[in-house]
């Protein structure tokens, strides 16, 4: 077995840390908490450096040489010094701006200025000149330390005049509430005026009250918490339902009632969430398939290189972003038309160069376009290297829209759902309302007749193929926000795209949309029950069976054109 060094002290460090912060006289309840915390602090000192420094300058200096585990103890010591500069030091530490000078072990708060550091002395907060960055080592942190740092910093902000800052501080402190955090918050509640902050404190308080000795307090806490939606509250209440954990009958039944109400609400919101997941997966499928719906559906060309046209679109987004690295949001917007043009031109080149010689020979078309897809992949590998490229997500597309504790929707998915709708609407407009669309429909319905009406069918073919390819490029831009931009991007979507088009009904854009959304939602409904792998298999089997029954898909093309296919 592996020898494990006692790198991190196995102590409730958070507890002793906060014990140090709360050096005020505590209300009665907190007394039992302080005693073990004091023990813990004593143990920490014994396990850490032989003589733990207590004076502010010593603590700061010790930070420079301490190991990650010793730094936890030093953080506590630092807070105990109550030096007014502590908050600034902690902020710098959290943001990786605390450095030690290798030459003499002096610790500085640094600000980057090209290859130099602007130094600030944490003892005096006076600037101490600027020196080359090579002479410094960062005082790092790890997840545990960062959590402690954030919590400690939050406690400094409780006195902030801005209620929003105080609310954020309370929420930060309640991320892992314990007896001492709550004591501080209880103190805060006495002077706090803002209702939102008070509500947050009350919720945190209710957690603590669940373990109170008085049954009435517990009952009140359960009632407060019955309006919550988060899983943590649910887990806490579930523990109270057991007779072993909760002697009082009233509390048990109140907990049961609260649980069923919370569980019901959560079920409702999770259904909405699943539906949204399904729609967002569906819209990705539609976006990937809709270009194919034109080339395959309208023109009847089996284009195996469709995925690679998406890949080219994604790489276009990458290149555009490289050209304007400072304007993330704008670069994404610009790459949409850019990708349309680039992929469209590549599509036209494929059509003029290869596909037009193979009309009416589906098998040869399939093989030729498959060859093109391999060619394009290797081309991209040679130009951009086989490594994936990253397309950064602009600020407005990252994060999520928090509706409540049980439901939040991610922005990038929301945007993509909307974007798919826009692309679909634009495509419908082109096909239904422009003369190009009229010609495309005419050629696809009856080539000979269209030609005899004076339509240049060769040109229309090229433009139609270019349109489908351009849409694939636009889909690639959207995909660059969701997944890797790499040479294999297209391959992962080509099968899904064909699936959607065949399921929706060849030659019908509405079919593609409905088909894609149906498959997306069905997939997401299945996924939690049977797992992602089985869900995918089940969808394929379903489509195979469905196509057996309805050979033309969901929305078959009607009329004479259909027979031609």
């Amino acid at each position: 077995m592996i020898p494990l060094p006692p790198f991190f002290m196995r102590l409730p460090l958070r507890r002793c840390l906060l014990a140090a912060i709360v050096a005020v006289s505590l209300p009665l309840q907190a007394d039992d908490a302080v005693a073990p915390a004091a023990d813990a602090a004593a143990e920490t000192t014994a396990e850490a450096a032989p003589a733990a420094p207590t004076a502010y300058p010593d603590v700061i200096r010790a930070l420079g040489t301490a190991s990650l585990s010793e730094r936890t103890a030093l953080l506590e010591a630092l807070l105990a010094t109550k030096n007014p500069n502590t908050a600034a030091v902690l902020t710098a530490w959290l943001e990786d701006h605390l450095h030690v000078r290798d030459a003499d072990g002096a610790v500085f708060i640094t600000a980057e200025a090209e290859a130099n550091y602007q130094l600030t002395d944490p003892l005096t907060m006076a600037t101490a000149g600027s020196e080359p960055a090579e002479g410094f080592t960062k005082i790092g942190s790890n997840n545990n330390l960062r959590k402690l740092l954030r919590s400690a910093l939050a406690s400094f902000k409780l006195g902030n005049p801005d209620a929003a800052v105080r609310l954020a501080a309370v929420q930060e402190m309640l991320r892992a509430p314990d007896e001492l955090t709550l004591t501080m918050l209880r103190e805060q509640a006495k002077t706090e005026q803002d209702p939102a902050v008070l509500k947050a404190i009350a919720a945190g308080q209710a957690y603590a009250d669940l373990t109170s000795d008085s049954a009435d307090t517990r009952l009140a806490a359960v009632n407060v918490l019955s309006g919550a939606l988060d899983g943590e509250t649910l887990a806490k209440l579930e523990a109270l339902r057991e007779e072993a954990n909760e002697p009082d009958e009233r509390v048990r039944s109140a907990a049961s009632v609260a649980i069923s109400s919370i569980a019901l609400k959560r079920k409702f919101f999770s259904a909405i969430e699943t539906l949204f997941f399904g729609l967002s997966l569906g819209s990705v499928l539609v976006l990937a398939a809709i270009g194919l719906a034109i080339t395959f559906g309208v023109m009847g060309v089996i284009n195996m290189a469709h995925g690679e046209l998406m890949m080219i679109g994604a790489y276009t987004a990458y290149v555009v972003q490289q050209l304007m690295p400072t304007h993330l949001a704008a670069s994404i917007l610009i790459s949409i038309p850019a990708a349309f043009v680039v992929s469209g031109l590549v599509g036209i080149a494929i059509e003029r160069g290869v596909v037009r010689f193979l009309y009416g020979r589906p098998l040869e078309t399939l093989l030729a376009t498959f060859g093109i897809s391999l060619f394009l992949q290797q081309l991209v590998r040679s130009i951009f290297s086989p490594l994936n490229r990253s397309v950064a997500t602009p600020e407005f597309m990252s994060g999520q829209w928090v509706i409540n504790d049980a439901l939040s929707l991610t922005w990038n998915r929301l945007y993509i759902v909307v974007f798919t709708m826009v692309v679909f609407a634009a495509l419908q407009l082109i096909l239904r309302r422009t003369s190009l669309g009229l010609k495309v429909r005419a050629v696809s319905q009856n080539r000979a007749m269209a030609r005899s009406m004076g339509i240049n069918s060769d040109r229309v073919d090229a433009i139609t193929f270019g349109l489908g390819s351009g849409i694939a490029g636009v889909a690639g831009v959207a995909l660059s926000q969701l997944t890797n931009v790499g040479p294999n991007l297209g391959q992962s979507y080509i099968i899904d795209s064909f699936m959607v088009v065949v399921f929706g009904g060849v030659g019908n854009l509405w079919g593609t949309v409905i088909g894609g959304m149906t498959l997306g939602v069905a997939g997401k409904l299945l996924e939690p029950a049977v797992g992602a792998v089985m869900a995918k298999i089940a969808m394929l089997v379903f489509i195979i069976l469905f196509i057996q029954r309805r050979k033309q898909g969901l929305f078959p093309q009607k009329g004479r054109a259909a027979e031609g296919h």
Partner: protein, 423 residues
């Protein structure tokens, strides 16, 4: 008929000539069996370049046994059956003395019979699921007890993790690793309801439901961690989704076994910062050997920003082990080299020593690092000493009685209970 006879004779002479030419040839051929195209090209191309660099360096030092090394590079194109074909080509046609190659377990399984049948030697440089030991393969990557188990120990002891999500891509490495981890966690007293195991297909990109499930699982009031054996391309959308659903490493850390510097260099690292990875080497580990290696690599590849990674270190160790064994044996004859290899020691890049054990695995230190914004790792934990690789896991029913020892027992799967070798 006569013509045929003459032809045969001619061919035989030609063969004999070419054979003597080969023998007189003053190069030693080294096969490189890494995909240069297809899905795995992203990872394997780097290892091909590493071997070429090591060969170049060795030749500058005068080669091996007074002969220059000559690389024979083939491209199995991420196509598993093609790996076996290309391996035969290297061994039978090019007569290579040793092969450095493979990345995925399925490619290794595909070439295994080829190497065993022709008694050739393969150095395999990637962390894998264990449960295998071949006389003809030297495993310089980590076995599960050199990566997965220490990582879980770290989470359990230092981060006090109580609930576990074992999230993996659906193929042999994650399946076996998760089986071992599940058995290990249960042996440590973790209840079945506190573990979920979940698999997704290769290249999976729609992580919404999976991540939302992790979030729900992790919000039950107990510290939760995700142990990820998600492979390759699926990682980026996974971490992106974690970031978008605001799952921070401070609340639910993800420890990954397949995300290294190379993978991080291609992606936007913002959503990954603070998440963990367990490896036996980090580019950020400070040691003179590592500094020199990084410099040599960046000069060789002509890119001052190119990263190094764990499988590269494993390739480096494997290459040096082979050179040392050949020099000690005084020949490139596979049987003799294989007999010489166990017990040899070469320095690794992190300041320690890699020793080849009788089970054809090596000793390795274990590092756990947090991902930083610049795509490097900051070590937060490491083992005091090197951990010996264990071919057969001690936590699985079928394998805990098995032992591999190619020196004393001459057996890859000796059953200590039945006291016999099953092959």
């Amino acid at each position: 008929m006569k013509m045929n006879l003459i032809k045969t004779a001619l061919l035989a002479t030609a063969a004999a000539l070419s054979f003597s030419a080969q023998a007189a040839d003053d190069t030693i051929k080294v096969g490189v069996l890494h995909s240069l195209s297809g899905t795995m090209a992203i990872s394997e191309t780097t290892l091909k370049d590493t071997v070429l660099m090591l060969i170049e360096e060795q030749n500058k030092k005068g080669g091996v046994l007074g002969k220059k090394l000559e690389a024979v590079v083939v491209d199995p194109a991420s196509n598993w059956p093609l790996f076996a074909e290309k391996a035969s080509e290297l061994i039978d046609k090019n007569k290579v003395s040793v092969v450095f190659g493979c990345w995925t377990s399925v490619s290794r399984k595909s070439v295994l019979p080829v190497f065993e049948k022709s008694n050739s030697l393969l150095f395999y440089p990637v962390q894998y699921e264990g449960e295998e030991s071949s006389k003809n393969v030297i495993y310089t990557g980590a076995a599960p007890n050199q990566q997965a188990i220490p990582a879980v120990d770290y989470l359990m002891k230092d981060l006090k993790v109580k609930r576990w999500v074992l999230e993996g891509t659906d193929y042999v490495y994650p399946r076996t690793t998760n089986k071992i981890l599940e058995a290990y966690l249960k042996a440590k007293g973790v209840k079945a309801e506190d573990i979920i195991v979940n698999y997704t297909p290769f290249g999976f990109s729609d992580w919404q439901s999976e991540v939302s499930k992790i979030k729900a699982f992790g919000s039950a009031g107990k510290k939760t961690a995700v142990v990820s054996t998600i492979n390759g391309d699926a990682n980026v959308p996974f971490y992106k989704e974690l970031g978008n659903q605001k799952i921070s490493a401070e609340d639910i850390p993800v420890v990954a076994f397949s995300v290294g510097e190379e993978e991080l260099s291609g992606i936007d690292t913002k959503p990954l910062v603070g998440h963990l990875a367990a490896w036996n080497y980090f580019e950020s580990v400070k040691s003179p050997a590592n500094t020199a290696f990084i410099k040599a690599w960046q000069t060789y590849i002509k890119n001052p920003k190119r990263t190094t990674n764990d499988p590269m270190e494993a390739t480096y160790i494997g290459f040096n082990l082979w050179v040392k064994a050949v020099e000690k044996a005084g020949t490139t004859d596979t049987t003799k080299v294989i007999d010489t290899l166990p017990g040899l020691e070469v320095p690794n890049l992190t300041g320690g020593t890699a020793k080849l054990l009788p089970n054809h695995h090596i000793t390795k230190p274990v590092y756990i690092g947090e991902i930083k914004e610049d795509g490097q790792f900051e070590t937060v934990w490491q083992t005091k000493a090197e951990v010996p690789g264990d071919a057969w896991s001690d936590f699985l029913d079928g394998s805990k009685d098995l032992e591999s020892d190619w020196v004393a027992l001459k057996c890859g799967n000796y059953n200590t209970k039945l006291k016999k070798c099953s092959n």
